[in-house]
Amino acid sequence: MGAYIDHFPREAKLIRSAFYTSFIMLALGGIFGVIQTLHRTDVVRFIDSADYYTVLTAHGVFMVIAFTIFFLVGMFTWAVTTSLERPLEDMSFSWLWFLMMTVGAVITGVTILLGFVESVDVSADVLFTFYAPLQAHPLFYIGLVLFVIGTWLAGADWFRSWWAWKRENPDERIPLPTFMVLTTMIMWYIATLAIAVSILAFLLPWSLGIFDHVNPLLTRTLFWFFGHPIVYFWLMPAYMMWYLLLPKFAGGRLFSDPLARVVFILFLLLSTPVGIHHQYMDPGIAEGFKFIVMTNTMFLLLPSFLTAFTVVASIEHGARQRGGDGYFSWLKSLPWREPAFTGMALAGLMFAAGGFSGMINAGMNINYLVHNTLWVPGHFHLTVGTAVALSFMAGSYWLIPQMTGRRLASKPIALLQVVLWFVGMTFMANSMHRSGLIGIPRRTAEPQYQGFEFEAALGSVSELNAQLAIGATLLFLSLTLFLWNMLITAFNKSAESPGENVIPTPLSGPDDSPAVLDNMKLWTAIAVVLVILAYTLPLASIVSRGGLLGRGGDAFPVSIDYLALFAQVALESAAGLV
């Protein structure tokens, strides 16, 4: 045995490249994150408010499209090769998908950033949701298409490994890590189909001037068809770490393999037919559909509840293996000095908090109060911004040495880093949730209005802003420490062994669980049927109301023209006042 790099040197190189790319994206996203926080809270403003939306688009896309998914492909490659104990089938194919993803991300990223350059008429200030009729430059959509096709090929690569393995091991259960990868990818194929249709059939031709119109409600609904499951695409690698690595770091092993399978199947089945819960406030969708979707969403809580149980039980088991006892005093026996463990444990804790605010979002009538307020980013900085991002960073403290064969540069700094993220996020999320409750909107450069003020129930708006700014600063500091640690580790000369690349076998294994759990075809079929049931009627109704290509309404490239238009309107109305 040995480190991952000792077994799979070629794969380790690919995985390293994916991780490093994701860290670069994280760094960029973080810079924009802190700029926008200081701007909207009016602490430091050095950009134009019109450019705020370029910054916000960049933050969203770099964080949740690039950072998370580049990390995911590295993680999944690790999981498949480790658990099948076989190298990838064809490295040049693997480099091809990685290259495609990178080229796509660069094209989209550069198109967004060109929004800052006034002399170039290219921009994509459409945020990561790109709701039409807001229009981006065609390159923005083209980059996204390349990136997504890259992920499809990556999935094909992992399926290919599994098929090859199955031929040699016809009677064995799918190893759990591979099982997780396969179910997650099936979900991703289903979900991305909608965004592929939305971009290729509507948005891209429209941005190229082939069509005059699109149906804004249709493309928006297709976005959320994809937009909810992508949330689980971010989350699944983190869940995978909690199931596979966290118990190991705690000194034990996973509690139950079969239940882990059940959880991933539930995610595959339920995560797509719920997207309309992002559209409770949209006209043109019947209340009944919204209600069905809400019910599905509530059931989607189940796999997360089950995960909470398994993870806590596995950690407790680990602690008892390490000599812990008592009802709660076993907590003291956990390896709190290990940044990988502590980071993931804190991430899990924040996920629980994020779960609670998520339940509020999901309630279709309570949603009126918080929809599009800062409450919502408050919620998802706990989930994707911490449960996922902090788990990825913590996991990197173990994974990067595995992939490089080099020792982690500084453990104490790593420990400080994960704690700092937790503290920073506590400030930021607290402020965002409370600001949202008093109605302060998200996605707004200057949430300071002329005709009215927000009234804080406790404290004041300036106190909320101060918390937000402090939180963001701590997060940025934490991010810097992380990146610095990774950089030094990458160039660390000491070739000390980073430990074994093993995933401990679960306490109760897969053998006594029904074989049907591993029937990928069956679960795919059920997932597809559920999606058809959930979406056929709403989509048909949207198309019959608004037409496939919409009716009227111009395209709105978000660019300088708008400022001119706005200035003109302002002037006219000023003249009207005089």
């Binding site: 804004p216 039980a313 009126y368 005709g451 608004g546 109305s573």
Partner: protein, 187 residues
């Protein structure tokens, strides 16, 4: 398959909780009759709003004794009526009235969000959102657009003024907008 006893208990508890949530919300929306934004209103052509019977001349219309309809057009970057900052009229209704807002957009997706209330809906070109509200007390409310709509999004705001019943006259002609003066004359 071997499932631990505690895990079974937990599973049951989680399911009960989920069903409980659904029941609460069902009661909240069906039992208490809180209406959702839905597909009841007819679609409109966003390029021909000027020719539309109601949106052609957006504003407040009295439809019953204490019942009003308000047609609002959202555009980059304001509400008509509503955006006082852009030189347009505020939305003015009397207290003790039932008001139904009909909202659509001329250009991109916006929202019509009344600060401090749960009046919050998208304004989608081609679609019409309708929201019915009871205004009991006189007062003023801010409106903002909470859906990103372009470079001037943060400037998109408006105002609703709920006048005391006896001081209200439709179309704003007889209404004194300054609250101070009304206070002097009437209260």
């Amino acid at each position: 398959m071997n499932i631990h006893r505690y895990e079974k208990l937990w599973l049951v508890a989680a399911l009960v909780l989920i069903v409980g949530f659904i029941a609460t919300i069902t009661y909240g929306s069906v039992g208490l009759g809180i209406a959702m934004i839905d597909d009841e209103a007819e679609t409109v052509n966003p390029e021909k709003l000027n020719e539309h019977e109601d949106f052609g001349e957006p504003g407040v219309k009295q439809v019953g004794e204490n019942e009003y309809e308000v047609y609002v057009r959202a555009w980059q970057f304001g509400f008509d009526p509503g955006s006082v900052e852009a030189g347009l009229d505020p939305i003015e209704v009397p207290a003790n009235s039932t008001v139904t807002f009909y909202i659509t957009s001329e250009d991109v997706i916006h929202s019509f969000s009344v600060v401090g209330t749960n009046i919050n809906t998208m304004a989608i070109p081609g679609e019409v959102s309708s929201v019915t509200v009871e205004f009991d007390e006189p007062g003023e409310y801010g409106i903002l657009c909470a859906e990103y709509c372009g470079a001037g999004h943060h400037t998109m705001e408006g105002k609703i003024i709920v006048h005391p019943e006896d001081e209200y006259a439709i179309n704003g002609t007889d209404v004194e907008t300054g609250n101070d003066t009304t206070d002097e004359t009437e209260a």
